[in-house]
Symmetry: C2
Subunit: 355 residues, 2 copies
């Protein structure tokens, strides 16, 4: 039934196993296993022989088998609403970088911004017994997180958080995002600042709040209609930014500065302004958020708020790893990163026109 290095199995051929190495060398499987994991109680001679044979046969331990007995899969699950969104792609990259070093694999799934799909993906990943989950959630309720907790799987939320939920979180301080952006527009002389806001998520709500507070603090007015809703769903984002901006352009008085929920919306807004024959930033200054890589290559390079996506990924990875290590449940940790202003032409006024 068993040939020298291969086992017939399900009509197919299998990889080298410890058993094969042990048989070849006349030692036990346990010995091989110990060598593999650098156990101390193995004689140098035996260790050498085993290692040599492992190389020869190009042995790779079956991680599924190991997972079964250790209870650890060395895999971490990541769920994002949209992989194509550069923000999440960069987060994934940051995560991946840290995890790779520690020998962890990353199972990624995209929820397409659909709560139900996200629920399914969570179940899938839990069934795979990932050691931890990292989620940028599209949920409206916290129910799914309860199920994760039931499984005792540690999880870290990123980017978006939930009011009633005491969970680990890594993300940018969204209220500060709104504040920094608005503050910047005020600083360059804008008097009538509008906001194209995002959907009912913690990110959009936080930015909106930061915008409001800053205006209030400076005693600036928020005329009715100065806050318009944009859609952030990837493909539609720039189109909806365009529509939202056209709406703002019809107002009287017209805004002289716009803070957009994200960069795609900002791009759409830019397009609408230029199309209307107005100048950016002279007539209307525009600032986005996310600082996507190509923001500088636009018709008018777009100022933005950097969310340090890669850092979010790295911090989330480290937090997840520490949760896996720590035996007992620890108090949820919140890591808030400070947003950074990236000034480009869309808010670079050479001279501040009075009024």
């Amino acid at each position: 039934m068993q040939s020298l290095k291969l086992t017939a199995w399900h009509n197919t051929v299998m990889a080298v196993r410890m058993k094969d190495i042990a048989r070849d060398l006349g030692v036990s499987v346990v010995t091989v296993s110990k060598v593999l994991r650098n156990h101390s109680d193995i004689s140098p001679a035996t260790r050498e022989r085993v290692l040599k044979r492992m190389k020869e046969l190009n042995y790779r331990p079956n991680l599924a088998a190991r997972a079964l007995v250790t209870g650890r899969t060395n895999m971490i699950g990541l769920i994002v609403p949209d992989l194509v969104h550069p923000f999440f792609a960069e987060v994934a990259k940051g995560l991946s970088k840290v995890l790779r070093k520690k020998g962890y694999g990353l199972v990624i799934s995209s929820s397409e911004e659909d709560p139900e799909l996200e629920q399914q993906e969570i179940d899938q990943l839990l069934a795979r017994r990932v050691d931890a989950l990292i989620i940028a959630s599209a949920q409206w309720t916290v129910e799914s997180f309860r199920r994760i907790e039931e499984m005792k799987t540690p999880y870290v939320l990123i980017d978006r958080r939930f009011a009633g939920l005491a969970a680990n979180f890594v993300g940018v301080d969204d209220e500060q995002v709104g504040a920094v952006a608005t503050e910047h527009l005020i600083e360059i002389g804008c008097q009538r600042i509008a906001h194209i806001r995002g959907p009912e998520l913690s990110t959009a709500l936080g930015r909106l709040e930061g915008y409001r507070r800053t205006l209030t603090r400076h005693g600036l007015a928020m005329p009715p209609g100065y806050i318009v809703l944009g859609k952030s769903a990837d493909d539609a984002a720039d189109a909806s930014g365009y529509q939202a901006m056209r709406q703002l352009l019809r107002l009287n008085p017209r805004p002289d500065g716009v803070f957009c929920y994200n960069d795609p919306i900002g791009m759409g807004a830019l397009k609408a302004i230029l199309e209307a024959g107005l100048r950016v930033p002279e007539d209307i200054a525009v600032i986005g958020c996310g600082n996507v890589h190509y923001a500088g290559l636009l018709r008018v390079p777009l100022s933005s708020i950097d969310q340090e996506s890669a850092t979010i990924g790295e911090r989330a990875a480290k937090l997840a790893l520490s949760l896996i290590e720590s035996k007992d449940t620890v108090r949820p940790k919140t890591i808030l990163l400070a947003p950074k202003l990236a000034v480009r032409d869309s808010t670079r006024k050479v001279a501040c026109a009075a009024k």
Copy 2:
């Protein structure tokens, strides 16, 4: 040692197992297993009871255990050079969509365009016993693919291929990419067409070849210096496109059309041209490749060649699944998609200026 539904284990708490359900119901584990997999030889009554209890306990089969015995992990590995590149992100999305429906998970890793790192990632994924691998390779040699073949793991190359390797491949026909782009420039009246080429990969070489052939076929000249090398590595791409274009601008006669290896390079080229006080497309027409989502939002909306990234992902997923199903090795399949022209302002000449 065992409580009703939980097992103390490694100082932690474990999930529900078949054993628990079997004990609760006074049936055997085998019966539970059969119900789970919809085996026919179970009485409706028993099936009901088991399913009910599964629901109650929120049972999730341990896929690691199942993998061990079936030899199938229901996971597919994806390796890309750069997750942040929209092309690969879209491929991943297309893949994910197909795989999810079939109950497969996607383990993604990024090689950062580093062959050695890619090798490690391949080993990792093989150790995890993924059922198939999908790779956009950064390798120079075909050695790593031999190792995959040794493991009898089916694999599909995407985007980039290798001359001496008979492997499954899904991608766009790069020579046709070059041809379509060049043909388009000729059609709008360009006479002196330059090319900012990419690195020594099948994609760049194919596009270069398509460019050359098309010029030759039309009897157009390729003056020395009309082919410049751009770097495609993500962050640097637009900067290198900028540099390359500046080089082209110094030539005499100056090109009146440029075909760029990819869109980021095209954006850099646009920037250089506009900065030099020239008009696009009147003085120089520009076309890129990849048709990234924001190509339309640039200073001058950039014409491009669409590579149908999502379709590549879907086709690759389906091919991989079919490879997994088919018991015996089949002849490698090559799926070449036809590139599509996406015309935007950067090549939209209102009137063709003669000469």
